[in-house]
């Protein structure tokens, strides 16, 4: 399991993980003091839908629906600005996670490649091993969540408007881009920048 976890962690720093990490970070930032709820939902949504797709059990949603999920997640993540609602932030993170779990095309190194070959025939153990790999990939987002919780509350309160604008703005742009069928163009541009 350790090699799989480390391989996932290595992938976190490769362009193929941008589509997973950027929305995850955006959801955590947009949720501000509720980032733990948003991140929990995000991890659950992305894991389940990535596992469904990679194991051939479904999970391929139409892009229009993915865009809608992202748009609704923006609304849900913005709501706690007025009222602190753990469940609403968690739901926002969950929808963001589902959307990115559908859009994500992973790097496939040695350990994960071996797992993918067996995934259609594995049940719960396959889901568990996918979770191990994704724990590595999502480590930077979890780290961000930890950092957000280490920031003193007064500073977090001051930063709220900026965090809301940045996080929700990224997710809203991604929703529009997905609806317009431009997700690949945007990710492709990020990938091109990162390799040149």
């Amino acid at each position: 399991m350790i090699p799989l976890l480390l391989e996932g962690f290595e992938s976190a720093f490769l362009p193929c993980s941008l589509i997973l990490l950027i929305p995850g970070a955006a959801a955590a930032i947009a949720a501000r003091q509720e980032s733990n709820s948003a991140l929990s939902g995000f991890v659950a949504g992305s894991l389940v839908f990535a596992w469904l797709r990679f194991s051939g059990r479904g999970g391929d949603l139409p892009l229009g629906l993915v865009a809608l999920l992202l748009a609704v997640s923006v609304v849900l993540l913005v709501i706690p600005l007025v009222r602190r609602l753990n469940l609403v932030s968690g739901a926002g993170g969950l929808l963001t996670g589902i959307a990115t779990g559908v859009l994500w095309e992973p790097c496939v190194s040695t350990e994960f490649g071996a797992l993918l070959a067996e995934l259609p025939d594995r049940g719960a153990s396959g889901f568990g091993l996918t979770a191990v790999y994704m724990a590595g990939v999502l480590a930077p987002v979890l780290l961000l969540g930890a950092v957000l919780h280490l920031i003193p509350s007064p500073a977090l309160i001051l930063a709220r408007p900026v965090m809301l604008f940045a996080g929700a703005g990224v997710l809203a742009m991604l929703a529009v881009a997905t609806a317009a069928g431009l997700t690949d163009n945007i990710i492709g541009q990020l990938v091109e920048w990162s390799i040149t």
């Binding site: 496939v108 071996a114 930077p140 930890a146 919780h149 690949d184 990710i187 492709g188």
Partner: protein, 210 residues
Amino acid sequence: MKRGQWIAIFVIVVAAVGLVATNLGAGDDAEVVAQPAAEQPAADQPPTKAAGTAPRSETPPFFGQAGDLVELDGWLQSDATAFSDFDGTVRVVQFWTLSCINCKRTIPNLSALYAEFEPQGLEMIGVHSPEFDFEKDPVTIQQAAIDLNVTWPIALDTEKKNFRSWQEGRRFWPRTFVLDQNGEIRFDRIGEGAYEDLNATVAYLIQNGP
């Protein structure tokens, strides 16, 4: 989640960073240390030169008849006009794209394999199926082939029709197949690794036929 739990996550992630850094560092060191000539590479480490590959001892499994490569946008580094031009040969067919890091990491082994078995009739075909728009330009693909030392024929699958038809349901880069002389798939690998199995399968088919 309480602050203490988040601190625990922070510590775990930082520890993981340390582990990965140590792991990567060890890999770098290993490249510097000269290896005995007779030492075989580990199964998941790509060899960098041909090494007299031994064939597998057992008959390679059958994964079904391979499909055709259709509606291509042309070929690079080949006079071929159709996939059928390679009929009757042992073929390594890899679906790849030029910015895919895992595809790049498989190339040293493919180069060594091609150098060793191409004189004995092995054909290798890289089916370039671009993930992003900037990977679609044939000039960019040709330059990448030069930079990456890809010397074998490249089939241009710009609209990914073959990428999809050869990988129904689950699609990944890279995906490597070995086809025997009858067009049957005898090796199928998602991602990196399994180099020893790949090479031994090719050696078996070249030496023993299908």
